[in-house]
């Protein structure tokens, strides 16, 4: 029933990227689930980890586990050095000017919350405006709503078109001297849209606003240079970049971080405490209260090294080819509609089918060993924009192959068979 690739005459172009070798770095991919080889297509939710990251975690807990910044003993010095090396690594990764501009947080969510609460509460007042887009993840909506409630500022939303693209003209109309913060997603997790963030930031600066980029979905797909983007804040999560969960990065422009009050308080973030007065520590420690995720931070380093070693500039044409191939093949399925057809799009395909609800699609694919995500993807406003309750989403990473796409297509034919 399912037409094969060859019959369709679709060719997968050679791009010079060796996906099969890259896959060997990821032990989890080499297993069976539900009696079928695992096809992992839920990378926008979280990515798998290469051996070097697994070793990094193991090595830390097995050989140098210790608290940091406080011990005089050997292990504590070692752990502190590795922890601070990870910071320099992240600085290089994002091309930040200074290592003190790198704040370790739990993930993109905590990074945005930090900026919203610290910067927002300190500098926003009634009448000010925050601009986000209609394709934001809840993590880049709710913190701003809360800050608006507390400060009297208001939230403005840049609409998107039917293809899921950011409407620059509408953005231009919303910008004014009331605009104080612009916070936009780099790549949409629900639609795959790649936003023109550099231009968005330029226009934000033109009215004197600061700009935050939610890079949760972008760091694993496109090289990021915060100086070139000229953003004021950039956040990402380690676990979506082949690193551990529970660790992420907030980049902040030094001059802004300096002026921002602490977000959480306690140990490590102070220079001195008496009951009369506390003097806060310098950057970046002012924002890292308490014992951080030391193991996760140290094991983020090999994840950054991994991305550097594969070179996203070389991976991009491969992922583009994979997206194009998957799009063409998915459209073979009768009654399947892709939500999000931006011209600039990452390898994320959200879709709905006439015959089956996304949840049923997910269950049937799961029985074939294929992992996708179904639901609203923490982007309910996007679902509302397209008038659908949910989508099924296949999201690809640099270890996914054309054969994974073929398996997905075969699984979708099974959905048609059951429900058609």
């Amino acid at each position: 029933m399912s037409p094969s690739t060859v019959e369709q005459g679709l060719q997968f172009p050679a791009t010079g990227f060796d996906v099969y070798r890259t896959r060997q770095e990821f032990p989890i991919l080499n297993q069976f689930v539900r009696g079928k080889p695992l096809i992992y297509l839920d990378n926008a939710a979280t990515t798998q980890k290469p051996n070097t990251v697994l070793c990094g975690l193991n090595q830390f807990y097995g050989c140098c586990n210790s608290n940091i910044h406080r011990g005089v003993h050997f292990l504590s010095e070692l752990a502190t050095r590795h922890y601070e090396d990870a910071r320099v690594n992240a600085q290089t990764f994002l091309n930040a000017r200074f290592h003190r501009e790198i704040i370790f947080v739990r993930g993109a969510t905590e990074g945005i919350n930090l900026v919203a609460y610290s910067y927002g509460r300190a500098f926003l007042k009634e009448g000010d405006e925050i601009i986000i887009s209609a394709m934001e993840h809840h993590a880049n909506i709710v913190p701003w709503q809360v800050v608006c409630e507390q400060t009297g500022a208001s939230l403005r939303v840049v609409p998107i078109n039917n293809d899921g693209e950011f409407l620059m003209e509408e953005y231009e109309k919303l910008l004014s001297d009331r605009t104080k913060i612009v916070s936009v997603v780099h790549i949409s997790n629900a639609l795959g849209t790649v936003n023109p963030v550099k231009e968005i930031i330029r226009r934000a600066h033109a009215v004197g606003a600061v700009a935050l980029v939610d890079g949760a979905q972008s760091v694993a797909h496109v090289p990021v240079d915060v100086q070139d983007l000229d953003c004021d804040f950039f956040v990402f999560s380690g676990h979506k970049l082949f690193g551990p969960t529970g660790i992420g990065v907030l980049y902040g422009r030094e001059s802004l971080l300096e002026r921002m009050p602490p977000y959480q308080t306690g140990g490590d973030m102070i220079l001195s405490v008496t009951f009369e007065k506390t003097v806060y520590n310098d950057l970046p420690y002012k924002f890292e209260a308490g014992t951080p995720n030391i193991g996760g931070t140290i094991a983020l380093s090999p994840a950054l090294d991994f991305v550097r070693s594969v070179d996203l500039r070389k991976v991009a044409p491969y992922e583009d080819a994979l997206l194009k191939y998957a799009t063409e093949r998915l459209l073979e399925i009768p009654g399947l509609r892709i939500i999000g057809n931006a011209r600039e799009k990452a390898a994320v395909i959200s879709f709905v089918m006439d015959c089956a609800h996304p949840h049923d699609i997910g269950t049937i694919l799961d029985s074939e060993g294929i992992a996708i995500r179904t639901g609203h993807h923490c982007a309910q406003p996007v679902m509302q924009r397209f008038g659908i309750p949910a989508t099924a989403r296949a999201s690809f990473a640099l270890y996914n192959t054309p054969e994974d796409v073929d398996a997905l297509v075969k699984g979708l034919w099974k959905v048609v068979e059951v429900f058609g």
């Binding site: 089956a356 609800h357 996304p358 949840h359 997910g362 269950t363 639901g375 309750p389 429900f419």
Partner: protein, 147 residues
């Protein structure tokens, strides 16, 4: 995992495709809205209860095959039944789909087609949402949520 056909039995597929008692009631004595924010299943259940008997019942809304078939079968089973029996059936049904015993075919009647749901933890909420909504309606609450 057992065969998918055990989950998506013919009866379920049939009720999903052509749901029974689908629509609104003119002037229901009870009604409630049920919503599962995670997957977007969203239903309204309407009842007319006279002298403790469910004289009419209907539902509308949208969701996955499991939830829609559960709503459809629920409404066709309960029409003409006493409220007390509906509540008892809800308890037994919930025990069956959550894998807490029950599921004796002689007691469950046509609802046995949902007995496989217990092996699909992510689908249990789908199967019970219409029943939660029914329960909310009968208890005089406006909304039921799976969260």
């Amino acid at each position: 995992m057992a065969d998918l056909r055990e989950l998506y039995q013919e009866v379920i597929l049939d009720h999903n495709k052509s749901p029974r008692n689908f629509g609104k009631l003119e002037s229901p004595t009870h009604q409630a809205e049920g919503y599962n924010p995670l997957c977007g299943d969203h239903y309204w259940v309407y009842l007319t209860v006279t002298d403790g008997i469910i004289s009419d019942i209907a539902f509308e809304g949208s969701g996955c095959a499991i939830s829609k078939a559960a709503a459809s079968l629920m409404t066709s089973l309960l029409k003409g039944k006493p409220v007390s029996e509906a509540e008892k059936l809800f308890e037994r049904y919930r025990a069956m789909v959550t894998g807490q015993g029950g599921g004796d075919p002689s007691e469950m009647g046509r609802l046995v087609v949902f007995s496989e749901v217990k092996n699909y933890p992510t689908r249990i909420k789908c199967a019970v949402l219409p029943w939660h909504t029914l329960h909310a309606a009968l208890s005089g609450e406006q909304t039921a949520s799976t969260e």
